[in-house]
């Protein structure tokens, strides 16, 4: 795989990962967000956070399965940053739409330049958000997952990695597993009992996480078996 081809593929993947946002923006503009737009946006941004996080976690197992796909690692940071991007949209949706914040009312106030009304609306929902953070565990794990993604995004540029040193950087970025698990727990804790919609994502994450120890186990066996053969020769 030449560098130019990888650059080209990166461009395509960038557009693919951006396309959900374009769909969202287009639907927002055309007023085509379904009957309950707040719920639609919340689910849409939450789902794409998980999908992109899973995509970034799939890269290492894929490379080990097919060594020819080694170049995939060059897509990983971009996928991770897109996961962070959708997580940010998800968080903003929660704060400005889901919490009870009157978004349409706020837009009207904004257009008419009525800043006092905006402040009032904010003051009205702030206690709800604080209450959520104190009481609701699905909000707590969701926010914890977001904080991890934020830390990983902040430390994603090359120069930060160099400044941190590879070991420390890698240790920090292993937290992505925790972020993914917390994200899935967040999903299970928010759906009604009996609703199984998080199951598919959970299974994919389980496979991706188990692939790692499974690979380590396999390679260790292979080296153990290989050693006596070498001494005999």
């Amino acid at each position: 795989m030449t560098t130019r081809t990888v650059t080209y593929i990166k461009g395509v993947v960038f557009l693919l990962a951006l396309s959900p946002f374009l769909v969202l923006a287009y639907r927002f503009q055309t007023g085509n967000l379904g009957t309950d737009p707040v719920q639609w946006i919340t689910h849409f941004t939450g789902n794409w956070t998980v999908y992109l996080l899973l995509a970034s976690l799939a890269i290492t197992p894929l490379r080990r399965l097919l060594p020819a796909l080694g170049w995939l690692v060059r897509l990983r940071r971009m996928l991770g940053l897109f996961a962070f991007f959708y997580a940010t949209l998800h968080l903003l949706t929660y704060v400005f739409l889901f919490s009870g914040f009157d978004f349409s009312g706020a837009l009207v106030s904004l257009r008419s330049g009525n800043m006092a009304a905006l402040r009032e609306q904010w003051a009205a929902v702030w206690p709800t958000i604080v209450d959520d953070l104190k009481k609701r565990r699905f909000i707590q794990v969701g926010l914890a997952s977001y904080v991890i993604l934020l830390a990983l995004a902040m430390t994603s540029p090359q120069w930060v990695m160099r400044a941190m040193g590879g070991k420390l950087w890698q240790r920090l970025h292993r937290l992505v597993y925790l972020a993914a698990v917390l994200g899935i727990v967040h999903y299970w804790w928010l759906v009604k009992k009996g609703v199984l919609s998080p199951l598919k994502d959970t299974l994919v994450l389980a496979v991706l996480l188990l692939a790692r120890p499974a690979y380590r186990l396999l390679t260790r066996k292979r080296t153990v078996r290989a050693q006596p053969a070498r001494t005999a020769a």
Partner: protein
């Protein structure tokens, strides 16, 4: 030999003498019943052909209910965004899958502590009282709400007809659970069941509902008959009812059994009592606007004047 064969029948098949002599009375009895049925029929003439199916216009009279001035939710939104888990757990599922539901023939079995246990045909039930237009606010436990013009009459009319025994304290509704017509996702204990205290069920606002927007209910709205209890969260308003059971103790209800800390038996709309996972202080009002406004939720969904007296002396935070 063949010619001489005696016809074979058991002695038990011989009509008893007294019945033979009374055959005329039996015929008269039958005629009298038919006549009564005819009289009843004249009093309440059929409003439409009995083979009515979905989306049939219903003749209605103005309803006896508090006037709701809020803008009515467009019919398209009210019939495409539904929680009807028998057809799937996504809110778009009921519209996509409820076409399989056959709403005729349909009967409602009334049993338990009543003097007149019986099975009633849906068309007879629809003709029993004039159908009223009643526009109610509808508040889902998930913090969205609609304003829907329902069509029906007070459930109390049917309850009075069934004549409950004094020992009957609760009314339980069973929804249809038929795997041939419904998806019935796993993880739930089907059939769906909901219940009300007798005084709640007898309250004039509690509507035995056959239609909405001036026509019969769409299947995804709970056709052919459901209840609407406007001061409670939507899940209390059982859909596609096939059985109404009267009992002396608080009945099993689907969501309360599933997650008692989230869904109380009373489930009165109460902005002061949060759901464990979200605040109930606000609701997203689904109307004709593209982006729903967030409006404050009212105690008893705005029907405080009518129903608050049912709960005097009760701790509504504990009995949520």
């Amino acid at each position: 030999m063949l010619i001489g064969k005696v016809p074979e029948f058991k002695s038990s098949e011989i009509t008893p003498r007294e019945k033979f002599l009374n055959r005329r009375n039996m015929i008269f009895g039958g005629l009298a019943a038919a006549g009564l049925a005819y009289e009843w029929h004249k009093k309440m003439p059929p409003l439409y052909t009995p083979s009515v199916l979905a989306a049939t216009k219903l003749p209605t009279v103005p309803g006896k209910a508090p006037v709701v001035t809020d803008a009515v939710t467009p019919q398209g939104k009210a019939t495409s965004y539904n929680n009807f888990y028998e057809f799937g757990t996504d809110k778009a599922d009921p519209k996509a899958n409820a076409g399989k539901l056959h709403t005729r023939p349909w009967t409602i079995k009334i049993d338990g502590l009543v003097n007149k246990p019986q099975t009633i045909d849906i068309d007879a039930l629809m003709r029993y009282r004039p159908l009223e237009d009643r526009t109610y606010r509808f508040r889902c436990v998930e913090a969205w709400s609609m304003v829907i013009p329902w069509v029906g009459y007070s459930l109390s009319e049917l309850i009075k007809f069934a004549d409950p025994k004094p020992s009957a304290k609760y009314v339980q509704f069973y929804s249809l659970a038929d795997r041939k017509q419904m998806d019935l996702p796993s993880g739930f204990d089907w059939p769906y069941s909901e219940g009300l205290r007798m005084d709640e069920a007898m309250h004039p606002l509690t509507l035995l509902t056959f239609g909405a927007y001036g026509q019969t209910l769409e299947n995804q709205q709970g056709a052919p008959v459901r209840v609407i209890v406007p001061w409670k969260y939507g899940f209390k308003s059982a859909k596609s009812i096939v059985r109404i059971h009267f009992s002396d103790s608080q009945p099993q209800t689907t969501w309360n059994d599933m997650a008692p800390e989230e869904y109380g038996f009373y489930a009165n709309v109460n902005p002061a009592h949060s759901h464990p996972r979200w605040s109930q202080a606000h609701e997203r009002r689904i109307d004709s606007s593209v982006f729903p406004r967030t409006v404050p939720t009212l105690p008893f969904n705005g029907y405080q004047n009518e129903v608050a007296s049912l709960y005097t002396g009760m701790d509504l935070n504990r009995n949520f």
